[in-house]
Symmetry: C2
Subunit: 392 residues, 2 copies
C-alpha cells in the first residue's frame, strides 16, 4: 500500500483506510506476480476475480453484484456500448465496491459503518450492512436526494441523518467522525477497499470485448474512473492485456472542478462551494479522489469534458427511447459526453467506446416524469377510438 500524497509505503494491511503518516489517500497495489487467467476464473460478478482482490475475508458479503449487461447500441453514430450498472442489486455501480469494503469491515470486527452520500452510496451501504448484520449510519444532504435512493436507505433500515448542507459537507463530517470514532467503519470512496471492488468493471469489459479504445465515466467524487483505470492497469501489468483504454471523465457544467482543471491544463482543480446540476449523483464540488482521477485521465491519455443539464436530460431520453435502456441523469452524462466527443472529433466513430451507465433510471422517478409523453385518461370504451386515431 502506498499513500498517493506523501508516498508513505506499507505492506498490505486490511485495517488501513487512510495514510497513517499524513491522513492522505492510500492506494492498494496488486502483486504483479499473481497467477490469474480469465479462462480459469469461476463464479460470477465481482468475486469471480477474487485472486485479483487483495486481502483475506472471514466472510464475503455479496448480493451477486457485478456481471452487468454490456448492451450494444446502434443510434449514436459510432461503436458505442452501454455498461448498464443499473442492473446491480441496489441499482448502481456502488455495489461492486461495497461488497469488498463491507466484507473487510466484517473481517476486522466492526459492527457499524458510515457513509455520506448523494444517494447511491447510501442505498448500497445500507443494503450490504443489513446483509452483514451491521448498523449503517448514512449522512445525506437534506432535500437533495433522488426519491428512490432515500426510499432504499429507509427500507434497508439505515440510520438516516440528513444534514443542512451539501454532500461535500456531509463527507467532511464522515471523515471527521472517522478520525475520532474507531468503532465505525467509513464506506466512502476515500476507503481504498471499495475501489478494489469497483475495478472489476474493467475485468468484465476485457473478458467480454477485450480492451476498448475509450471508456467514458461520469465523475462525481471521482473514485470510479480511477478504480476502472486501475483494473485495466493491473491486467496490463499481469501481461493479460497490452494496453489500457483512454479514460474519459464527464462532469455536469455546474459541478465540474476536475473537468475544468483538465480542460485548462491545470494540475489542481478549483473546488466549488455550491455545485448544482440535475444529475444529483454527481452534484459534488470537492471530489475527494481528484488526484486519483486526474492521474487516470493523464496516464491513459484520456480527457475530461463538461455537459449541460439540458444535454444530460436529452441523453437520458435518447438512451431510453432509442435503445430501451433506462438510466439516471448522472449516468446519461456518459452518453452526452460521447455525443460531444464524436462531434468535436476527439473520438472517432470507429473507436470502440464503452459508456459506464452508473445507475438505474428507477433511482430518480421524478427525473423520468419530467419527460414529455402522450398521456390520456379515458373510459375503457374509448380506447379503441383513441388508438385508431393515432394509427391513422
Amino acid at each position: 500500500m502506498r499513500c498517493i500524497h506523501c508516498s508513505f509505503e506499507a505492506e498490505l494491511d486490511q485495517s488501513l483506510i487512510t495514510c497513517p503518516n499524513c491522513g492522505g489517500l492510500l492506494e492498494i497495489r496488486c502483486d504483479p506476480k499473481i497467477d490469474f487467467a480469465f479462462k480459469s476464473a469461476r463464479g460470477r460478478g465481482v468475486w469471480r476475480y477474487s485472486p485479483l482482490i487483495p486481502g483475506k475475508y472471514s466472510r464475503v458479503v455479496s448480493l451477486m453484484e457485478g456481471d452487468t449487461p454490456l448492451i450494444d447500441t446502434s443510434s449514436f453514430g459510432g461503436k458505442f456500448m452501454a455498461k448498464f450498472e443499473g442492473a446491480n442489486p441496489t441499482g448502481s455501480f456502488k455495489d461492486r465496491g461495497m461488497s469488498v469494503a463491507v466484507s473487510n469491515a466484517l473481517t476486522l470486527g466492526y459492527r457499524a459503518v458510515m457513509a455520506a452520500s448523494t444517494g447511491n452510496t447510501a442505498a448500497s451501504a445500507a443494503a450490504y450492512a443489513a446483509r452483514a448484520r451491521m448498523r449503517a449510519f448514512i449522512v445525506l444532504p437534506q432535500g437533495k436526494i433522488a426519491m428512490g435512493k432515500l426510499a432504499q436507505a429507509i427500507l434497508y433500515g439505515a440510520y438516516v441523518i440528513e444534514v443542512q448542507g451539501s454532500f461535500d459537507q456531509g463527507l467532511e463530517t464522515v471523515m471527521s467522525v472517522h478520525r475520532v470514532e474507531d468503532r465505525i467503519y467509513p464506506l466512502n470512496s476515500f476507503n481504498p477497499w471499495r475501489l478494489e471492488g469497483q475495478k472489476t468493471l474493467a475485468f468484465e469489459l476485457v473478458e467480454s470485448v477485450g480492451v476498448p479504445d475509450a471508456v467514458i465515466v461520469p465523475v462525481g467524487n471521482a473514485g470510479n474512473i480511477y478504480a476502472i483505470w486501475k483494473g485495466f492497469m493491473e491486467l496490463k501489468e499481469l501481461g493479460l492485456t497490452d494496453r489500457v483504454p483512454k479514460m474519459i471523465g464527464v462532469q455536469a457544467e455546474g459541478a465540474s472542478p476536475i473537468a475544468k482543471a483538465v480542460m485548462k491544463g491545470k494540475d489542481v482543480p478549483e473546488f466549488e462551494e455550491f455545485p448544482e446540476t440535475v444529475a444529483s449523483a454527481i452534484r459534488i464540488g470537492k471530489p475527494v479522489n481528484w488526484l486519483r482521477a486526474m492521474r487516470a485521465i493523464r496516464e491513459s491519455r484520456g480527457t475530461a469534458i463538461t455537459v449541460s443539464d439540458h444535454e444530460i436530460l436529452q441523453a437520458q431520453r435518447e438512451m431510453a427511447r432509442k435503445e430501451g435502456v433506462g438510466v439516471e441523469p448522472a449516468s446519461a452524462a456518459a452518453l452526452a459526453g460521447y455525443m460531444k466527443l464524436l462531434e468535436s472529433e476527439r473520438l472517432s466513430r470507429e473507436d470502440l467506446t464503452v459508456g459506464v451507465f452508473t445507475g438505474n433510471a428507477l433511482k430518480d422517478p421524478e427525473s423520468m416524469m419530467r419527460v414529455n409523453t402522450n398521456r390520456f385518461t379515458v373510459a375503457p370504451s374509448e380506447v379503441l377510438k383513441l388508438v385508431e386515431r393515432e394509427l391513422s
Copy 2:
C-alpha cells in the same frame, strides 16, 4: 401449438396468438427431440437457451435480460434462495418474455404493440418497443400504478392511456382491440410467446442449483407460475432432469381467486370484481391464465396460499433488513408465503425452496418509505454527537 380450451391443434405458427378456432389460449409445444445440453449453451440470459425457444427471429430484440442473481438467505429458518428478478433491465421478470414477444412482433412486421398493465408489463413493453423502434400503447388503471413503473413508461416514450377502471377492464380492452385491429401486436400474457421467454427462469435454476424441491411464485395474471413450470417440464421431457419442483402460487388476500379455488379444491376460480391489495403488481381479480396456473399447481403437486397485506409488507422489510435484498411488495409475497408454509409444515426446512422475487423495490418508492426508520435532520456539527449517543 394446442389450444388449452378446445384442444385445437396446429403446427408451430409464429403469427398465432390466440386459438383460431375458439379464441382461447394457445400453448406452444417444444419438440421433445431438440438437441440441447447445458454444457454447450453459449451467451447469457434468455437467449442462452435459444434452442429451446421455438420460432425463427429476423432480429432478436434484447437488453441482456435474464441471468439474474440467485441469492442465498440465512434468516428464514430453511433452505431458501431468492431469485432476484429485479436485476432485469427494466427491473422485473417481464423482460424475459418481452424480449421474445417483441422479437416475434418485429419478425412478423408489426410496427405497434399494446399491453394492459399493473405497471411492470408497461415498463417492459415500452422499453423493448423503443429498442425495436415500434410504438407502444400502454393501458393502465388510473391512479393504481406504482410511481416508478408509470415513470418508466413515460421515459421510454410509450403512448400512455389511463383508463377509469381496473387492470382487468384494461386487459379486456386490449383483448377487444386485438380482435378488431390487426396492426397492433398485443403483449399481455395471453400471448404465448411471452411465456416462452419467462420459462427460461427454470433453466437458470437448474443450471445453477439443479431442480429445487419447491418454487414459490407470486400470482397475478398467473402466466409466470405456468411459464416456469413449463420450463421445468420441458427439461424433464428432454431427459435433462428427472423431476419438476412443486409449484406454489401466492396471492394477496384481497386478490386471490386462484388461491381460494385451490384451497377449496375447486376446478374453476370465482373471479373478483374489486381486487384490493398493497401489492399493486398482483392486484388482479380475473387472471387470464388461471387455467394454465391451476394445471401447473396440480400437476406439480404444489399448492396455492394467500397472504395478508401486513404479511407482505413485513416480508418486504425482512428481506431488505436481514438479507439486503430490495423487492417490491408483490415480490415479497413469495417470502410471506414461504414463512407460512414452513410454519404450517407444508414445506420442510430441508426442502430447497426458491422464491421468485419478481420486481425491484425501486419500482414502488412509496411502499419503501412507509417503513419506519431512524431519521434525523441536524447541522453537520451535530452528527458526531448523534452517532455517539446511538452507539453508547
